[in-house]
Amino acid sequence: MKNKALAAPYLVWMALFTIVPLAIVAYYAFTDAATGEFTFANIANLGNYMPILIKSIWLALISSLICIVIGYPVAYFIANCKETTQRFLYMLVMLPMCISFLLRTLAWVALTEDTGIINNFITALGLQPLPLIRNNGAVVLGMVYNYLPYMIMPLYTVIMKIDRRLIEAAQDLGCNGVNVFKRVILPLSVPGIISGFTMVFVPAVSTFYISQKLGSSGTTLIGDVIESQFKTAYNPNLGAALSLILMVMIFICIGVMNRFGDEEEEVVTL
């Protein structure tokens, strides 16, 4: 067929607004803010931000793992419902994502504040208020809450597609419930786990709003630093270097994850 050319405008668009901008990020990362000359200073400067980067990765990793543990039983349950129930439950999981995540995070602030809804309730019972906000736990809570649907979606898609006959075959061949899960269902859901993991990890590691609202100065994440370089500190060259390192790190992670999963299997992105 000859309509290959239909994709040309799209490719031009993507070249202009995806590839060129990334090249400019790299360009800024290797140039000096004042003189515009080539320099490694921005990259060398990254050493100072290593603890923050490691902390971001750590918190995002914990959140992704919690999302797997919470998301898997939910996805499994939804995938085993009747078809109409499935669609309804899937919609219920998706629906909260349609409301501004800024406001949903603010609602969590209202819930967990020192004089917030939960602590008001606790003090009304005559107990001491709990330190629920401005710590790592609160940031992880925010991440898990905001990105859990991204984990449930691909897990559900993969579990739903598992051939029921495989499970029956395993049972016929003498597997008990635990073994069916361990040897058949879990290995077959690996592609879903991988794409769910990346869909949670990537936004979690680069967030800046959640850590600003639910964290404290001790929970500054890499996203906060990048944001401040563009919005308050005005050092776009350092910001570009940080963005570049974040991007490279994520691409390596995804590359490793995809190698780790079955290469034949097409990883679900949506």
Partner: protein, 278 residues
């Protein structure tokens, strides 16, 4: 095990909806503090409709979402048709490019576009390049992959013989395209467009880096607001938005169900026809 999963799912769904409940209850609260419920009132809603700041901002968001999703749907559908007829190598390359904005963190996309616009701005000596146009370009860019990814599966599912049958039956190539191909992939186009629209309407991170003070969208303004205490009418606004989205989702669900039912019936009719033929 099944019962455990059921209870667990209900708990997780409650967890997902807690903030929505907080916002909805807050929208009927007469006090300023969302954490303390003073008394029930509709004042926040009344105030919302008298407000001269929030509604224009919502309109801005809707304008950007509408224009960017329409443009992304057209460009993306064309792209999907093009990709569909590509060889495996070129296709892999194009899908790789499509995946870049999906895998890249939003903040990196936002920053990279901000730098591009700053770069173009200094090259062309435009002082305030950030504004409606930059916002629209950014939104189209992140919407495109969603459209492509929802149209592509429909193209793959389509029977290639259908188009040829139409040609054999006397359709011109344009008619065959319009009556068969477009008809077959319409569900994908619609869901891609809807997804693009909602993504764009709700986008904060990318918009935050490419918006200009002359054209602000609602999520950006909410972020700028939150340095001050939030006014309860914002909760009212989002409770209404949530209700609207709920209705759209239910409608979409019903449409899909009708679609699924119809294709089931088609398949049954096809099988019956085959039996008769045999």
């Amino acid at each position: 095990m099944k019962n455990f999963n059921k209870v667990f799912t209900v708990i997780v769904l409650l967890f997902l909806y807690i903030p929505m409940i907080v916002l909805a209850v807050g929208s009927f609260n007469s006090g300023m503090d969302i954490a303390v419920f003073k008394s029930f009132t509709f004042d926040n809603y009344k105030e919302l409709f008298r407000d001269s700041v929030l509604l224009p901002l919502l309109l801005n968001s809707v304008i950007v979402a509408l224009l960017s999703s329409i443009f992304a749907t057209i460009l993306g559908t064309c792209a999907a048709l093009g990709i569909h007829s590509m060889g495996p190598r070129l296709r892999r390359f194009t899908m790789g490019v499509t995946n870049i904005p999906l895998t890249n963190p939003e903040i990196v996309t936002g920053v990279s576009l901000a730098l591009l616009f700053a770069f173009v701005g200094t090259m062309m000596k435009i002082n305030n390049i950030l504004g409606f146009a930059t916002l629209l370009i950014a939104h189209i860019t992140f919407n495109l992959p969603y459209v492509i990814l929802s149209v592509m599966p429909k193209l793959k599912q389509m029977d290639p013989n259908l188009r040829e049958a139409a040609l054999d039956l006397g359709c011109t190539p344009w008619q065959a395209f319009y009556k068969v191909v477009i008809h077959e992939i319409t569900p994908g186009i619609v869901s891609g467009a809807l997804m693009a629209f909602t993504m764009s309407l709700d986008d904060f991170v990318i918009s935050y880096f490419v918006y200009g003070p002359r054209f602000v969208t609602l999520p950006v303004e909410i972020y700028n607001y939150t340095k001050k205490p939030l006014q309860p009418k914002i909760y009212a606004l989002f409770t209404l938005l949530f209700a609207a989205i709920l209705i759209v989702m239910v409608l979409m669900n019903l449409l899909q169900e009708r679609d699924a039912k119809r294709s089931r019936e088609n398949r049954r009719a096809f099988r019956r026809g085959k039996k008769v033929g045999a």
